[in-house]
Subunit: 445 residues, 2 copies
Amino acid sequence: MSETYHRRDILQMGTAAGVGLAAGALGSTPPARKMIRVGFVGCGGRSQDLIPVLLALPGVKILALCDIDEAHLARAQDTVVKAGQPKPEGYSRGETDYRRLCDRSDLDLVINATPWQYHAAIALAAMNAGKDTATEVPAAVTIEECWQLVETSEKTGKRCIILENACYLRESLLIMNLIQKGVLGEPLYAEAGYLHDLRAVKFNTVPIGEPWRLDHTIRRNGNLYPTHAMGPVAWWLDINRGDRLDHLVSMSTKSRSMKEFAVKTFGPSDARSNTTYAQGDVNTTLLYTEMGREIILHFNTSTPQVKEGLLRVQCTKGTFNSHMDEIFVEGRSNRSDSPDWLDHDYAEPTAEYRKQYDPKLWQRMEKQTGVGSHDGIDYMELYRLIKCLQEGREPDIDVYDAASWSAISQLSENSVANRSRPIDVPDFTRGRWKTRPRLDVDAID
Amino acid sequence: MSETYHRRDILQMGTAAGVGLAAGALGSTPPARKMIRVGFVGCGGRSQDLIPVLLALPGVKILALCDIDEAHLARAQDTVVKAGQPKPEGYSRGETDYRRLCDRSDLDLVINATPWQYHAAIALAAMNAGKDTATEVPAAVTIEECWQLVETSEKTGKRCIILENACYLRESLLIMNLIQKGVLGEPLYAEAGYLHDLRAVKFNTVPIGEPWRLDHTIRRNGNLYPTHAMGPVAWWLDINRGDRLDHLVSMSTKSRSMKEFAVKTFGPSDARSNTTYAQGDVNTTLLYTEMGREIILHFNTSTPQVKEGLLRVQCTKGTFNSHMDEIFVEGRSNRSDSPDWLDHDYAEPTAEYRKQYDPKLWQRMEKQTGVGSHDGIDYMELYRLIKCLQEGREPDIDVYDAASWSAISQLSENSVANRSRPIDVPDFTRGRWKTRPRLDVDAID
């Protein structure tokens, strides 16, 4: 089975195209554009965070909106009009009407915030129609979709960005800065998680539910939502830019809590109380990189718990634990005076380091963090994307990231289904990870 | 290779003996004894914690001491005399002189605190000579040694205890109590670690070094010291008493920090700076239990860091994070009032729970925790062991625990050496894990 996932031969795509692609990443950098004309697909809950941000950014026009639900579509159109832009054209003729939107000749960028299973299809349609595209997370559900995104982006020369807002967390950029400035030394081990009690959301017993998530929980078992954790870690470890994911193992506990919630909420004879939920309550994935680092990703959206990201790194000169708000730097943090090895060093609070290494982007953006939810990271991810497109630069996140981070889902499912055996991670860059330049945290500005 | 580790056929030991053993755990419970006569092997650093504790316990006599180093032996004899007991006989005729000590007719219990690689041999000698035995951690280095301990204990009817003091941590017993009293629900996921910067200890650049550890770091790569983490977790999850370890996967990062320390400390031409250290800086092991729970064990004694145990559980009704000093219990901890699923619940500080669920043993022992190092847990582990032997009860920890927890070392090394592939954990109880009674936290008193 793993052969399907491995490097796709560039020859498959025709020799001339293959040579051209091998020569450079995605051909030339995108042209600079003062105005970015956007089509937005999927006007549900998430769009209510993203559309206001787009409307607040200079040089963005929303020309088209798409949703199978006409009320949601109308609501989104209304939001755009209230911001002073003309009413965007609406596309609501069923599940594939996004194709008509993508085929418009007057769009530069198609953004989508639909249920997961549509993300790749819409992104592909956009690129094939000559538009850059940005998709909500995850960019794809299967490895096959990941390869299609990569191949289509390379073939069309259009960008495919995954809207992973966690990369822009102040915490995550701080860690990236501490690493890049040499404070912590070389990273050895990175940890992050998506721990979020979504039982009510999945079962749609709250106002802003996401019932389409339930089907994934019923059918699949692995880390179904890896990118919020993987995005930050990828930036700390230069994944696809000096290092790459080599293989992973993944393990899930039994599945108990979804059924228990159903029984408690709907009663024992309800169909939902008699469904088998494949997704284990807690999933843990270990990833090994080519440069010998280790990543651990936690995933649990099924049990009572506090929402946690658990960001932590262990490096050659020290450690950073976001959850504990502690940092330890050899030679700088408090040393125990005792020679007794049973005594040990003490972590410092992070306040001084936060001042000294506060990421540039946050320093700049301090004022604007009120816009959008998720504490400003929605603003920052779209601000950066639009700015890069306007200035004709490569975005912070590209299709290789979209593919690598999203592929962890199916790879983890395969491992879980096979007693946690190691599964190779495809090299979507086909060797270019060795030479692609590292993302400079100071250039994320 | 894994066949060597699997259940050893009871027939191998002879049918009659096999039937007898199959009938009960270790035959009859040990006889009650007012006075426990102890022989102690290994009078190095660790003995300076344990011997004073033994001397403080009522009904314990130390009759014999053994160490290849005569100065250490004399120091230990002196400690016993100063406590008012007769001078113990000394055994110092080389590396195997512990056998003469074990052959004495006047000992009930042989305790050993030698370098790791001697633990199993000494324990076996003691049991074969008709003594109960307690060994420092780990009880064994190889799976083969683990099986030998189990088989010898069963054949001789003598107890083999691993001196895992972490089981008696107030924190660990608190978690055990919260689980057993139903506060957290059923455990799904347990996490613990041994994170301790031991570079100076391994390289012996501090007064109380342990240079014999260095050889393990040079030759081996896995979780070399799993029991401090596994012991507490085993008590939370009833391992070998209702559940069992089924298989594990283990992953290590590259090895950097030991060599860097050597270069920085001894200079680049020193032999230690030109040695290959097999042990990866950070090791992570995931274990799956028969009842579908997951355990994660962290191990890192090679990089600059704060000493941490990282005790954490996720259960069906809530979570406990020792490191964060936080607990979350559904329906009891602070709930967010907002129906917005992006808001989330908040953890509580643990203070009220610590009062209500403080483990019995600690309530009793509060006064005596000054004795020994490690904040009283040395006192408690020996207090419990001696008390159980005096009262003729089964000790809290037995040979199946000693074997299961220690076996993780070599099992993890095998996984690491094979790209983190899954490795079966032998069932040292041969099926008895299903019926052996759970350890009652209130009976640990």
